[in-house]
């Protein structure tokens, strides 16, 4: 799916009094992307996976060429060979991480620590790469979030996660002792980590979004976001409330079916029970993803983009939960029924809905913009790392 965060970060208009509206249009077609996807998959198979970054570059180019901001499409300048290096780095990192997990809990913990230590830097590098290789009207976008801020934004989720994983690896060898001796420090560490991770999740999400939306630049425009933590907490509570719905619906259906099966005999009843339970769990799972994820995604997109503006630009996102819910449900059903053949159609439809929900008010004429003079500054090493490895983690 197209990275909604990276795509519509551009737009302008002339008169300061009456802003011009820069409309976002997405013209991609599911059937055309289906064919690109099919050929990409074949090439990935033939090259035993090495073609992946090239397939990704082709996919981004297709989505960009079809994303029009005020009638000019975005362009992608990423060099697939550089993306290939980033791809190898990520494969290596994830490979070492998952192999370490198979051998000992200490090795797994050390690997996790290393991953936590480098991940914020990689995250920033990939934002720099994606934005730096995106242009509109010939002007390159930039991402100017600092390395320090990337780590600060990550801290509230990474530190509890480290406590959680560390606690778990300490508990591992002495479970019997722990059961006998009651509450050990390791278990305390584990519980505190789990608790903080849950409690801090909305705060972390706020920090991640703030970091991203404070870093987008094009020409002389620097995006700034007003995103209140309280609102994200409120949204999280509402999302959890929405999560109860599918559970209740599925639970009611299962209870109803069991009630109706009272009259049946032993083995028939057991068989029916298994079937109903299976269907109930499947339905609950489907509804969970069709209701909860779209709700959270739609509201979060609106919250973050409606708070984002730059000197001359103001963003508006009016993504309706009802539309995204209907689309997600349809995408899921068709993708499952067609054994994933529908997936490219789903990707295009979702990108269209999410992109076209955004409009941009512009108080200047973007034709007057000129590229910012960016010589090497303090963060040049980060830029080089991002560019050298062609890191692009967003999908």
């Amino acid at each position: 799916m197209l990275d909604i965060d990276a795509a519509p970060a551009a737009a302008p208009a002339p008169l300061p009094a009456e802003p011009r509206v820069l409309q976002i249009r997405f013209t991609g077609s599911g059937s055309e992307y289906f064919r690109i996807w099919a050929v990409n998959l074949l090439l990935i198979l033939v090259t035993v996976g090495l073609y992946l970054p090239f397939a990704k570059a082709r996919r981004i180019r297709y989505f960009y060429a079809n994303t029009f901001v005020d009638d000019q499409a975005l362009s992608f300048h990423g060099d697939p060979w550089k993306m290939f290096r980033g791809f190898l780095l990520l494969v290596l990192l994830m490979g070492v991480y998952s192999v370490a997990g198979h051998f000992s809990s200490t090795a797994a913990f050390v690997a996790f620590l290393i991953l936590c230590a480098v991940w914020p830097a990689l995250w920033r590098a990939s934002l720099q790469f994606r934005l730096g290789n995106t242009s509109w009207r010939g002007l390159r976008m930039r991402f100017d979030g600092s390395l320090k801020d990337a780590y600060l934004a990550s801290a509230p989720s990474y530190l509890p996660a480290i406590a959680l994983v560390g606690g778990a690896s300490l508990i591992g060898p002495d479970t019997n002792a722990a059961v006998a001796g009651g509450f050990t420090p390791a278990m305390a560490l584990y519980s505190v980590g789990a608790l903080c991770m849950t409690l801090f999740a909305p705060w972390s999400l706020t920090l991640f979004k703030r970091y991203q939306h404070n870093g987008y630049c094009i020409a002389g425009q620097h995006s700034r976001v007003k995103l209140s933590t309280a609102k994200v907490y409120l949204l999280s509570l509402k999302t959890m409330g929405m999560a109860l719905l599918p559970m209740i619906v599925a639970g009611l259906l299962v209870a109803l079916a069991f009630g109706l099966s009272r009259g049946l005999g032993g083995s028939q009843r057991a068989l029916l029970g298994t079937a109903v339970l299976g269907i109930g769990i499947g339905l609950g799972y489907l509804l969970m993803f069709a209701v909860v994820l779209p709700y959270g995604a739609a509201r979060m997109q609106n919250l973050a983009w409606n708070g984002t503006r730059s000197q001359a630009l103001g963003f508006k996102s009016a993504l309706k939960f009802r539309s995204l819910f209907g689309l997600t449900l349809k995408n899921w059903l068709l993708t499952a029924l067609t054994l994933s053949l529908y997936r490219p159609f789903a990707a295009v439809a979702t990108a269209r809905l999410r992109l076209e929900a955004v409009t941009i008010d512009c108080h200047e004429d973007p034709a007057d913009w000129v590229a910012a003079a960016h010589a090497g500054h303090a963060d040049a090493t980060g830029d080089i790392a991002g560019d050298f490895f062609g890191l692009d983690m967003g999908l």
Binding site: E32, R35, A38, V39, L42, A65, W136, R137, G273, S340
Partner: protein, 341 residues
């Protein structure tokens, strides 16, 4: 230059966002636009598509933007630019569907021949130390979650170990069956969850549950055959193969449906493991039968084991989920296999 086909474009120079209308034409390996030019080799040429804007990316940051995609495609063709093979495949329904067919055929062939080959190669290349530590790690995990120390007395455990060693000694003397270098029998209480069970981990650790030994307390030959079967898994390194296979299949599945759903991506790995494990069971049965017979064990006693197992499962049949897993249509086949002379 007058003979070259020309087309209007908006030129953005990469410094200013103002569009400058220019005329574009190709002259050999050089792209001309207005009074500028660039060698074709340094230019990012757009792929032909039905939708979307055509942009030619210039060296540096500039680009040429073409409002009319169809006109661009005509002009490019008239200027002697031909589509790459990939574009031709992408733009043809027939070739795109052919790629899907080839993809499915390729995946099937990879699954049938490529994966076993890759796993065999990896298994041969991996030092045994790796396999052993993997197995120990798995056993530690099982000890935490599922297994308790055995309730069997030390004397009983020793009696089983002695009997097993005697079978192995006799089989070794008889010859004909290779016995793996490293293996170890562990006695554990698997509780209700595991029931009567025995399984082999990578690296040669074999776990046998108290419930199984209770079930077959009066049928030592059946116990020996079960252990010989598990030793077959060790001999063929099935545990490590399963881990590698499941890993490879889930990686492939995640490329195809991965960013869509982790559940959908996990399903093929589970299905593949089940399909492979049936082959593994047959292989281990074959090895187990040869080894047990060489060790002087009456393998036909396995019939009693399958019979008692079936009875035990039938008694818990009230549980709705039990129906799905308790039927063993292969039992008859396996009883016949162990009876066969």
């Amino acid at each position: 230059m007058a003979g070259e086909p020309r087309l209007g474009a908006d030129w953005f120079d990469g410094r200013s966002a103002r569009a400058r209308p220019v005329e574009v034409w190709l002259d050999g390996q050089t792209l001309h636009f207005g009074d500028q030019s660039a060698p074709l080799s340094g230019v990012g040429w757009p792929e032909r598509q039905r939708h979307g804007q055509r942009q030619v990316l210039l060296p540096g940051d500039g680009l040429l933007s073409f409002a009319d995609a169809a006109a661009f495609d005509d002009w490019a063709r008239a200027s002697g630019r031909s589509d790459s093979a990939i574009v031709r495949w992408q733009q043809s329904w027939r070739l795109a569907l052919l790629s899907l067919v080839l993809l499915v055929a390729g995946l099937a062939a990879g699954y049938r021949w490529g994966l076993p080959w890759a796993v065999d190669t990896a298994v041969d290349a991996l030092p045994q130390g790796v396999e052993v530590s993997l197995g120990e790690h798995l056993l530690d995990g099982l000890d935490d979650e599922w297994l308790k120390p055995s309730r069997l007395g030390a004397a009983q455990q020793q009696a089983w170990q002695a009997r097993w060693s005697a079978v192995l000694d006799r089989a070794r003397r008889q010859g004909g069956v290779d016995v793996p270098e490293r293996f170890e029998i562990h006695f554990r209480d698997g509780g209700k969850a595991l029931g009567p069970n025995a399984f082999a981990l990578p690296g040669g650790d074999i776990v046998i549950t108290d419930a199984l030994l209770e079930l077959l307390a009066d049928e030592p030959d059946a116990v020996m055959t079960v252990l010989a079967h598990e030793l077959g898994h060790v001999q063929h390194r099935h545990g490590l193969r399963m881990v590698l296979r499941a890993g490879a299949v889930s990686v492939v599945a995640s490329v195809i449906v991965g960013d869509f759903s982790t559940l959908l991506a996990a399903a093929p790995a589970v299905l593949a493991s089940n399909a492979y494990s049936r082959d593994n069971e047959r292989q281990a049965d074959l090895y187990g039968r040869s080894l047990a017979r060489a060790g002087g064990v009456d393998t036909s006693r396995m019939a009693v084991f399958f019979e008692r197992l079936a009875k035990k499962h039938a008694s818990v049949g009230d549980h709705p989920l039990a129906i799905a897993i308790s039927t063993h249509p292969a039992d008859v086949e396996r009883v016949a296999f162990f009876n066969q002379r």
